[in-house]
């Protein structure tokens, strides 16, 4: 029982990352009709926003070390610490949550520029060409990041207040074996809030209503005198911001490296397909489902029966789903029906 709960918890945070990326992918696909292979790169850019923020906050100056008296010693002290003392140290400690403030404008600008500068010329072109050009863009972004930040993963610290593990088992009376890192709990909460926010935005606002209408029937919405193109730019930027924030918050869990985006992209596409192209709920459901399945498959008990299953479970599920339910779990008819 404990093991099962533990695996579900372990799967949730990975599933949350999948769900956030897949949500943006399927949103862009459903509205703009564009298959965006560069979406994983947006996740990676978000993660590197955290790296940049950490670098900026810890910019240091050399000062004389007063504690050592018998020779001239210098130590590196971050400017912030020098200026604000303990407050500065606290700001540095909270660099990951603070970098969200950097991620949002960066991804907003990047999303709008990408849509206006590149994607909009590909609305009328085939899906194969959309895949190819965004794949090229993903390579370019990845290589730029590699040139700037190097090829090695950059470790990012979570705030020390949430450094340890939460003994979730004791909260629910399930035994002390179930413990869960605090930061993953934060990540999970954050994802749920973001997901709920996006859904509320689309379901409850007039803007969201027109976007949903545009997903259903773009022409009719246009005939009603609504400039749907303009709204779709915002949708694209929204998807970019969601992916970026997911990347930023994921940085303490997995040290960001330049091919992070590609790694997540492949799985996110599988998630979108399993959930059903253009279905937002399906993407979220499939994201969490596949995350949990993956962590179950990596249990030793399961691996003893099916060796190597943890490596292929996601792809296997995708193949089975596509063959049995071609529209995916919650796919609507009429989208990509060929």
């Amino acid at each position: 029982m404990d093991a099962i709960v533990l695996q579900i918890l372990n799967g949730l945070d990975k599933g949350a990352a999948y769900a956030l990326i897949a949500l943006g992918l399927t949103l862009v696909f459903g509205t703009l009709g564009v298959v965006n292979f560069a979406h994983g790169a947006l996740f990676m850019l978000g993660a590197f926003c955290a790296v940049t923020m950490q670098y900026l906050l810890t910019l240091s100056t050399r000062v004389k070390d007063e504690s050592i008296t018998f020779f001239e010693a210098y130590k590196e002290v971050p400017y912030l610490e020098g200026w604000f003392g303990d407050w500065g140290r606290m700001i540095i400690d909270y660099s990951v949550p603070i970098s969200i403030l950097l991620t949002i404008p960066v991804m907003l600008i990047f999303g709008v520029v990408m849509e206006r500068g590149l994607i909009r010329y590909f609305y009328k072109r085939s899906h194969a060409e959309q895949i190819l050009v965004t794949f090229g863009l993903a390579i370019v972004l990845q290589e730029i990041i590699k040139a700037v930040f190097g090829a090695n993963p950059v470790p990012i610290q979570a705030p020390s207040a949430v450094a340890g593990s939460a003994s979730i088992g004791e909260w629910f009376g399930l035994g002390p074996a179930i413990s869960y890192p605090w930061w993953r709990l934060v990540y999970l909460t954050f994802s749920v809030v973001v997901l709920a926010g996006v859904f509320a935005f689309l379901q409850l606002t007039t803007f969201g209503m027109t976007v949903r209408a545009g997903m259903r029937d773009r022409e009719t919405v246009g005939l009603l005198g609504i400039d749907i193109e303009k709204r779709f730019i915002i949708v694209f930027a929204l998807a970019a911001i969601v992916a970026g924030m997911a990347g930023t918050m994921y940085a303490p869990i997995l040290a960001p490296n330049y091919h992070l985006g590609m790694d997540f992209l492949v799985i996110s596409f599988v998630v979108v397909v399993v959930g059903g192209m253009g279905s937002l709920g399906g993407a979220v459901l499939a994201g969490f489902l596949l995350g949990i399945l993956q962590s179950f498959a990596s249990m030793t008990e399961v691996k003893d029966i099916f060796p190597g299953i943890d490596q292929i479970i996601i792809y296997l599920v995708a193949v089975v789903i596509l063959l049995v339910r071609p529209r995916g779990l919650m796919g609507r008819s009429g989208i990509m029906e060929t």
Binding site: V35, L118, Y121, R125, S126, H127, A128, E129, I131, L132, V133, F135, G136, L137, A138, I139, V140, Q142, E143, I144, K146, A147, M262, V266, F269, V270, V273, M277, P307, G308, Q311, I312, I314, Y315, L316, A318, V319, L322, L323, P326, M336, T338
Partner: protein, 411 residues
């Protein structure tokens, strides 16, 4: 190709036993000019291609690429891209998992070296057979869907192969270390014939070790054969069916054709091409690793094909050559090489130029590749071959309007 055709040549074309009436084009109105028939053009293309490929050691000399290791890479990746193009160029099905067949071919060839003999003929045949079996399996599953679903299914299945090669199949693939040929492998056939292997363990053909120039000529000859077969496929009624699938599958079904068997056949053929390329990689360097199957490798063959021109026959080979050439040249450039290249400049602008250029070469050459690729997809979706055709049209526009024959994409 609009070489002037004389009446004599025309007569020859008609008396040619291979001449196919259905491919004959109506002569244009006007003076005595007649377009070449497809059969004529094909023979011209094959002869020209043979000359170009076998002449590589000479005409690549000024480009600094005339050494066998690089040239055999051109040939091998040419075969790989040719095979990919048979699928993508003809039918429009974008497979993102073709590297799986490349890897499978490599593993199969190395196993043939280990188990049977160091002779390369069984290795090539075995690799193509195994790749074909894998392609039947993967194709049967992924061809049930089309469009982006097909791309994702092939991607998922190839990633599955890659992950399996790293984990469960380690006894077969030797995991991260990579599979290599060892001195004490059984090699049943060699033991039976009493052939004793001395020296380094390299695949051989009739006692000739496949390194250096023999290795290159082997790859070159196979590339020419592969080119010929691809040309025949494109010209055949079967190729016409595949193009019909690309242009309108529904209409094809309405006229009473089932596209599935055609698709599966070309998928398997394409997989066998990749298997052959994988086998050649293993022959010229008897080591097979799983990284050959990673999806970035599948992306590379897509890049080659698009860069050269999907759907044309020589485009993918050109693309493969260009990418492998620049990979080799660019990745060797570093800052000091750059400064010496710009040494004619005064120091300050030289430093500036080196700083500007250095992120794009050496380690960062993939950046150049990515940008080039985006530019091609955005501005020239037909690849370099379309660019050449456009320039050709500009040049020949001044000629007589009667010579305006639409050039076949296969040229």
């Amino acid at each position: 190709m609009s070489a002037p055709t004389t009446a004599a040549e025309r007569k020859k074309a008609i008396s040619d036993p291979d001449f196919d009436v259905s491919t004959r084009q109506l002569p244009p109105r006007g003076p005595e000019t007649k377009p070449m028939t497809n059969v004529d053009k094909d023979w011209l293309a094959i002869v020209a291609f043979t000359v170009i490929v076998l002449g590589m050691p000479w005409w690549l000399q000024p480009l600094g690429a005339a050494y066998p290791d690089l040239m055999q890479k051109f040939a091998i990746y040419g075969i790989f891209a040719l095979g990919f193009n048979l699928l993508f160029g003809l039918t429009g099905y974008l497979s993102f998992g073709h590297a799986a067949f490349l890897g499978i071919g490599s593993y199969a060839a190395v196993w043939s070296f280990k188990l049977f003999t160091m002779n390369i003929i069984p290795a090539v045949l075995f690799a193509m057979l195994v790749a074909a079996v894998a392609a039947v399996f993967i194709g049967f599953i992924s061809l049930r869907r089309s469009g982006i679903y097909f791309s994702i299914l092939t991607l998922a299945l190839a990633q599955m192969c890659y992950n399996l090669a790293y984990s469960v199949l380690t006894p077969i693939t030797n995991g991260e270390t990579g599979l290599r040929v060892l001195r004490d492998d059984p090699r049943v056939l060699d033991a039976m014939t009493g052939t004793e292997r001395t020296g380094s363990l390299i695949g051989s053909l009739f006692g000739e070790k496949m390194v250096g120039y023999p290795g290159f000529y082997l790859c070159a000859v196979l590339l020419i054969i592969a080119f010929y077969i691809a040309l025949r496929i494109m010209r055949s009624p079967f190729g016409m069916m595949l193009r019909a699938i690309k242009s309108n599958q529904h209409r094809m079904i309405y006229t009473g054709f089932n596209p599935r068997p055609y698709m599966l056949t070309i998928f398997v053929v394409s997989g066998m091409y990749s298997g052959l390329a994988g086998a050649l990689l293993a022959i010229t360097d008897p080591l097979a690793g799983a990284e050959r199957m990673q999806w970035t490798a599948s992306g590379e063959v897509v890049l080659m094909t698009i860069l050269g021109g999907a759907g044309t026959i020589s485009g993918p080979i050109l693309g493969a050559g260009i990418i492998k050439y620049f990979e080799n040249i660019f990745s060797a450039l570093n800052d000091s090489a750059l400064s010496s290249a710009f040494s004619f400049l005064p120091p300050a602008p030289r430093e500036f130029l080196v700083t500007i250029v250095s992120p794009f070469v050496g380690e960062g050459w993939h950046l150049t590749l990515g940008i080039l690729f985006m530019v091609i997809v955005i501005f020239l979706p037909g690849g370099i071959m379309e660019g050449i055709r456009r320039i050709w049209k500009l040049v020949t526009r001044r000629g007589s309007s009667s010579s305006k024959t639409e050039v076949q994409p296969a040229e």
